[in-house]
Point group: C3
Chain length 335, copies 3
């Protein structure tokens, strides 16, 4: 793409040589001829070999061969990098993959690529453009829509539904039984039926070695555009809204609802039946008691509090030494 | 099964049409003709299409076609659902599985089903009725007893023993080396030998992507009927008793003992050589210092305290603002 | 090996029968004829059937057939056990493995053993003596140096480099995309390019089901001799030094630097851009705010504090009940 075409794509204003050919992308200090890069703050610039740089307003664009002035250079860079990335043209079905033929039970496999030693069950639909990497296990009656990429050794249990343009990283397990037991009078645990399913909407990304359990009697759902990191646990009947972000190692207990647009840090723990309202932000390592309703705002600590309350309380605790000294002095005076 | 047969099975009293044929199960609001469902509290009933409902004493049984009155409707429902569940009759050995022939070294493979691209080592015993799903790796000299189900892509290292009727969910690793090193005078770490094993007793269930390490020189053991959730870490030489429940993402360090009937929340962290006495309940995200003995009761926080102490202390911290104001007022009066 | 040869190997002084033949190793109470064992404190000895025991100075060596007096008996035992361990001579390439032939693009596969249903990409180098267990997935342009062992069902993404003598336990994923997104004005997340790589230096060991993400534009690096436990998360562009130890379920956010010789407990959480200076020790479940510089010393709690400050503060909190009573008494006196 030429610089002016990129400017059009990201909605920015090109300066300098708008005809320069851009073939790849890199960080400012690693970029070379033909690369596009980005600069978040004009004052941080210290030279680059990039041919073109996404810059904020106020940058002296004569310092680089070509520049594209945009509101959010990092976002513009992310968007153009995605476009420039050489999608390795994976295609074909590896001879060692176990893929059932189309049949009247609904089996319909159209993926662009199915890797070595994949196995796929019956009644399963995989759309065009999908990429199923080596060693993935896909059960019966699964739906995987167009252009979704499943990385190696993931396991998708029976009846799970995954939308368009999703990316699931290696080792992630979707649709295992939820953790639900009923204890009898002898202290023996009996599994409560875990026969629901998982629905993952379009454009969801899930990291490596995460677990999304199936619903007990209903469904576990992950909304459109939500991004989930590595080693995250999502329990049965959890309902996560659209465009949420959930960082690594967070654990979400059964029947939690997280509404649209929430941001959840890493290693957060949710008790069951929590509701997080749209737009809430929960800090890393926070703990949320069962049944709690978390309103919009920034939350912190265990049990969670609004961030400013948490900070105030923390300051009080830090002043305990002083308070003790005051008490001692007062007692001395009174005596 | 007919309603009266189900009543007999769960030890309840049938009312209404005891001859109704029950073929499946569902939640009250999703149930349809032929389904059995359950109601935990009589006052929560708001109609259902179920043919039969497990109900507590005091429910007006004329509101449904047939009812079974039991002490614990949810438990009765779990037990009958397990019975009604159509066990997909998985059978056969997939042609891509690598399964050694029986031999005099003890190799003896009798599983009902071995899926695609499974590989199994030598000297390994797998009992009748066992189900080994696609992509599972089983080492040498492993024992897996009758009716145990291993879900896809699990890894069972050499010498591990798994009992009857266990369920291991996808991606779980049993028998990897424990984390034990000895540091030399140059700061270099040398692995302490991790040559023990893992014994998993009957009727244990383990979630997805969990890790159960082998003993260093002895064994790691998980007692009969214990249920472990996803992404749980069990270190070397841990000894977990019978009928315990351990929620997701909990980490148990080396040489911890957890006695029978304990309940452990999610994201709990155990230092090494902790002993948890029979019947203790440990809240989520709790942290337990190395060597601690945890007595029966309910425990909370880091480092753990009895729940009522934790609550009292939390209340004290919340009252710090008030205490500071009191101190200020007293100082004013004294001056 | 004979007792005197072992003494030479570990730099100790042999007593008793220095010609005894040692064939295996075990704990003191489990050892039998032909075994070597170890004793950490002379006063803890209560008999053994071992033929030879590594002992500290001051032990009465006439109590055992042969003894080797060393400074650190546990370290000496670890070193000799590693030597005595029968390395099962795994060799050959399983017929079901998908291994590309050497070619001019750099494909060069020399591993001693490649297990069943392994798949390996193009341009990948695997050195002599390496062991690649069943079901491992190795991408394109990967480097795995001599004598490294990769346990079953691990996934190594494209372009990753792993040094000599490393051990990676089952289910671990190396090189998945880091978790980096840019949010647009509509609240939609766009992936920031994750096109860097992972470099793992020599003699690193990583536990089961851990995740090491690739760099965004640069590299994620794990230094020589570092040991990482199970279920650990290492984010993009993290730089871990040499001879560090990181316990299970710890999560390290993007762009964290951990210098040489640090010890990190389990379930620790790191915000992004943290720097941990050489020799720091961080207690389990600690939480470190983004951008923090952690100096050498022992650290504890969330947010982390020096251990002695943490203990002092904890003691203050425990004395709140007493302080309240004092306040009440003072107010009474003043009235």
């Amino acid at each position: 793409m030429k610089a002016f075409e990129i400017a059009e794509f990201v909605g920015g204003a090109v300066s300098g040589n708008s005809q320069l050919e851009i073939t790849s992308f890199a960080a400012l200090n690693a970029a070379k001829d033909g690369d596009i890069s980005f600069l978040e703050r004009a004052e941080n610039f210290s030279g680059t070999n990039a041919s073109c740089v996404m810059v904020p307003a106020g940058f002296d664009t004569t310092k680089v061969p070509s520049a594209i002035t945009v509101k959010d250079p990092k976002l513009a860079f992310a968007r153009i990098a995605q476009k420039l990335r050489v999608h390795k043209n994976l295609s074909g079905i590896h001879e060692t993959a176990v893929v059932p033929p189309d049949d009247e039970s609904g089996t319909h496999i159209r993926a662009n690529f199915i890797g070595a030693q994949v196995s796929i069950g019956k009644g399963t639909y995989i759309g065009e453009g999908a990429v199923i990497h080596d060693g993935v296990r896909i059960g019966n009656n699964v739906t995987i829509k167009k252009f979704t990429v499943i990385h190696p050794n993931c396991v998708i249990y029976n009846d799970v539904e995954i939308g368009y343009d999703c990316v699931i990283h290696a080792g992630t397990v979707i649709g295992a039984d939820g953790f639900g037991y009923v204890r009898d009078e002898n202290g023996v645990y009996h599994q409560f039926p875990q026969v629901g399913t998982v629905v993952i909407e379009d454009n969801v990304e899930i990291g490596a070695n995460s677990c999304i359990d199936r619903g007990a009697l209903g469904e576990t759902r992950i909304g459109e555009g939500t991004k989930i990191d590595n080693l995250v646990q999502v329990g049965h009947n959890v309902n996560i809204g659209k465009h949420c972000v959930i960082a690594a190692q967070t654990g979400i207990s059964g029947s939690v609802t997280i509404e649209d647009g929430c941001v959840i840090g890493g290693q957060v723990g949710f008790g069951d039946h929590v509701t997080v309202q749209s737009g809430a932000v929960i800090g890393s390592q926070a703990g949320i008691l069962p049944g709690k309703i978390v309103r919009p705002g920034v939350w912190w600590g265990t049990p969670i509090q609004p961030l400013d309350e948490y900070k105030r309380q923390n300051a009080h605790v830090k002043s305990l030494e002083r308070m003790k000294a005051d008490l001692k002095e007062i007692k001395r005076k009174l005596d």
